[in-house]
Amino acid sequence: MIARLLIRIVAWALLAYLVLPLVVILGASLTTTPFLAFPPEGITLDWYRKMMADPGYVSSFVTSTLLAGSATILAVIMTVPAALALARFSFPGKAAVSSILMSPLVLPHIVLGAALLQFGAYFGLTRSFLALLVGHTVIIAPFVLRSAFALLTPEQRALEEASSDLGARPWTTFFLVVLPQIRAGIVTGSIFAFISSFINVELSIFNTTAELNTIPVKLFNYVQYTIDPTIAAVSGATILAAVVAIVILDLTIGLDMLSDRE
């Protein structure tokens, strides 16, 4: 069938298009030339060594990781109870509550970043780790909320009711019945949340300084002025981190979200 063949060709071309820029960066980061070259001329890990020796890059990596980690923990602590409230109770204003908690997904991050800067300025909550943390928590919370909520199905309710009918206290029911059923959702949501925080530029850029910088913002500031193989090495490191994260994700929970019917 011609249509089938055509789809195959388009799909292969698109898969190549998806990996090409990443391959180019990884390749260019290995070049021995002092400028960016692809295909690389010669192969060296010098640019990665240079990156590791630069305290600026190392501290940005640390900041990004700490920020993404603490924002994810905060988001989980806040949104798991919220998901429970939205899935298991009826109360006035429920639709409004859920759209407020989900709206950071569609709201331009640059607007939210600007808003937090202006608002934080009234009480000195700017250009600090805490200022970054509250913003990141807001934008990543919907990921955890959505995936935890999706697993709180009506069918699971029966188990929760059985647990409380048998005399379990709410906390016991939560830890022994509810939590195990939504654990996978919390893990998936947390991973997406962590990554979204780790790669964010638009929100962080308002509250970072030369000393307190996240890795994407630092890269963004560099790339606008100079491009050299160190930048490619730093970018390459983030790509490798992403690949590792995805392979782990695939091996533990499985990423085969597009499987056919069965």
Partner: protein, 281 residues
Amino acid sequence: MMSGLRAPFLLLIVPLVFFTAFFLAPLATVVVASLSASGNESGLTLDHYVRVLADRYHWDVILVTFRIGLYTTLACLLLGYPLAWYLVRIVKWRTWRRICVIMLVVPLFTSNIVRSFGWMVLLGRNGLVNDGLMGLGLVDRPVRFLGTELGILIGMVYVLLPFVVLAVGNALARVDSSLEQASSDLGARPAATFMHVTLPLTLPGIVSGAIMVFTLAVSAYVTPALLSGGRITVLSMLIFQQYSSVFDFHYGGALSVVLLVFTLIMVALAARIGTVKGSAT
């Protein structure tokens, strides 16, 4: 559903206070700033909006922003649908599909900045794309990509394509094959079955993917900033300037509200088209 307000109140109090303090209140500050007089005067004014909307230049920027958003969305749908189809319906070997999904998700897990940087290298005057085009004899001189809308479009489609593929792919995987079977048993050709059965059934996926891509495209900052080479301005770049170097929060606020309102209008329209089309067939 259990009723009684005590439990949901206790469960929601912390997230709601947090979102009020660090989400609703900051956004309200922007709206208030956009409506209040600048300088030492007090009172409400629409001056900043007049300044934004009475200026031809701003309309040009708004037009460019939404044109890029629209083209990005269309390109993502036209390219993403076949790719989703391929992954869900054509690939039979599970391992290969897993590898494909990983290829699809790795870009999503990498920063926009890294991905746009890759395109800066590829689309440059001596980049791989121009080398390829000249090598194939398609062009005599290097094509200018950086600093053109085409360049921005290539980068944006790249960044946003996975969202459409995942949304459409999920919808495709959930289509009940007996419906398609019935259609072809009743004598419909594959093309007719696709148009009248499969496409309408995947419409919710298409609409949700399109809305996601459109909102992300019109509010994108990093990709256009890097690939425009300072030659093309989109709304988010104007907003960033106001807050980072000009420090005019009133004017920046008005620009932000304009971006928000235009985006919400387009999203509402798309959702409407989705429901109308979906119920008609």
